[in-house]
Symmetry: C2
Subunit: 222 residues, 2 copies
DNA sequence: TGTTTTTAGATTGTATACAATCTTAGTCTA
DNA sequence: TAGACTAAGATTGTATACAATCTAAAAACA
């Protein structure tokens, strides 16, 4: 049985992480020839990789003109966060209804680990990145809705992560973020779906409000 | 200035409509050679077209094994409707806040036209299809959120339409559907965002409930 | 007869070559 | 000097050829 990754697959995931980490910057050109020189092989698989990147909205292509790393305006980023508030609130509500007791216990254990790390003042920056993501991903999986999971984790989160570094979006204090996470899990453990949804919406809304403030400043500067 | 469509683009849209109309059935195989014989050209653009179909979740590909028209289980379709209820409810809420008075007037005019058509008992089946879609699309555009528009119209609706024919999903009586549409527009005209959202959710929820009933029947038959 | 192995065919993945289109630098003109 | 035009270069779109992999039908074996 062949689960051999094709070359196009490898290049695709390489570039994906490069973009999300900011090594390739928004607006930067990506040419097929360029990729051939960097990753080896021929143009055909590079072309496929670029198309897959386009499918995930990580690059924008115009016919005969080539591809560039996606470059979002504040307004477009706000649109994304608006959708994220809605979908992740929904995920949280469903998680409160559908997660097993065991899964909830795991989530609580995860937060205790985060708490220890913060108290020990180790990995402060870690919690902002991988830890925070891990929490959100688990919750979304807990919704038991595959399509929802795919839309959030497969489409929106790449873009969210990509811009998290550049704007101050989501740059919450680790301690405050942890407290909010704990409240959310409490609501889920109590099977209070409405409250869980509300708390998650607020948790994300802060970033959106921040974005809207930035947009207002930018508008005022003109 | 070149807005010349590439061959891959043409083939992509041809196949898209074929799938949505049901001319290509779920699970049916799509080979590159097959497309070459049907549309002309070489394998390269056919390959691209298939990749774009995969990006829209209209076909499923496995490496080295080829592509098939997507085939959803009832459970997967229910997941889609669950997300649709949420997103289109959101769109309706935003539309109530953001549509201009002129756009609302246009929407009202559209419904009056639908009413006349139904009273004249012309195009009953038309209203179920194009008319219903037109209404929903306009509302979604009214949310003024591009990302939301793209997720609903560009991703979910293809699959919804594809299965609308086959299951009895969304096979509402035209008159009842029209009445519900009218209530929704009334709420929007009154700028009552909460009510507009609630009404839209109910409007779609009926199809989801129907799906869940079918799933229960299927489960009981085992 | 049922199962496994083998082998031939078909299909996809990749490489390379050519044609169509766009981009950019340079030239010309007002 | 600013702007429009032109031509060379680079880049993408398409076609074809070959290699790697999968599929399925036939043969071998228990």
């Amino acid at each position: 049985m062949g689960d051999t990754k094709t070359l196009a697959d490898k290049v695709f995931s390489e570039i994906t992480t490069s973009i999300v980490r900011g090594e390739l910057k928004p607006g930067e050109r990506i040419s097929e020839q360029n990729l051939v020189e960097r990753y080896g092989g021929s143009r055909a698989p590079m072309r496929q990789a670029i198309q897959r990147l386009e499918a995930r909205h990580l690059v924008v292509r115009v016919p005969h003109a080539g591809a560039r790393v996606v470059s979002l305006t504040l307004s477009e980023l706000a649109d994304i966060y608006e959708v994220r508030v809605e979908l992740e609130g929904m995920a949280c509500r469903l998680a409160a209804q559908r997660m097993t007791d065991e899964e909830i216990a795991d989530l609580q254990a995860l937060l205790r680990k985060h708490e220890e790390m913060i108290e020990a003042e180790q990995g402060l920056s870690y919690y902002q990145k991988a830890g925070d993501l891990d929490f959100h991903y688990r919750l979304i999986r807990g919704s038991k809705n595959q399509r929802l999971h795919q839309m959030l984790c497969g489409e929106l989160y790449h873009l969210v992560r990509m811009y998290r570094y550049q704007t101050s979006t989501g740059a919450k204090r680790p301690l405050q973020a942890l407290k909010e996470h704990q409240r959310i899990v409490e609501a889920i453990a109590a099977r209070d779906a409405e409250l869980a949804e509300l708390l998650m919406r607020r948790h994300i809304q802060a970033s959106l409000t921040n974005l809207e403030r930035l947009m207002a400043e930018e508008e005022g500067r003109k």
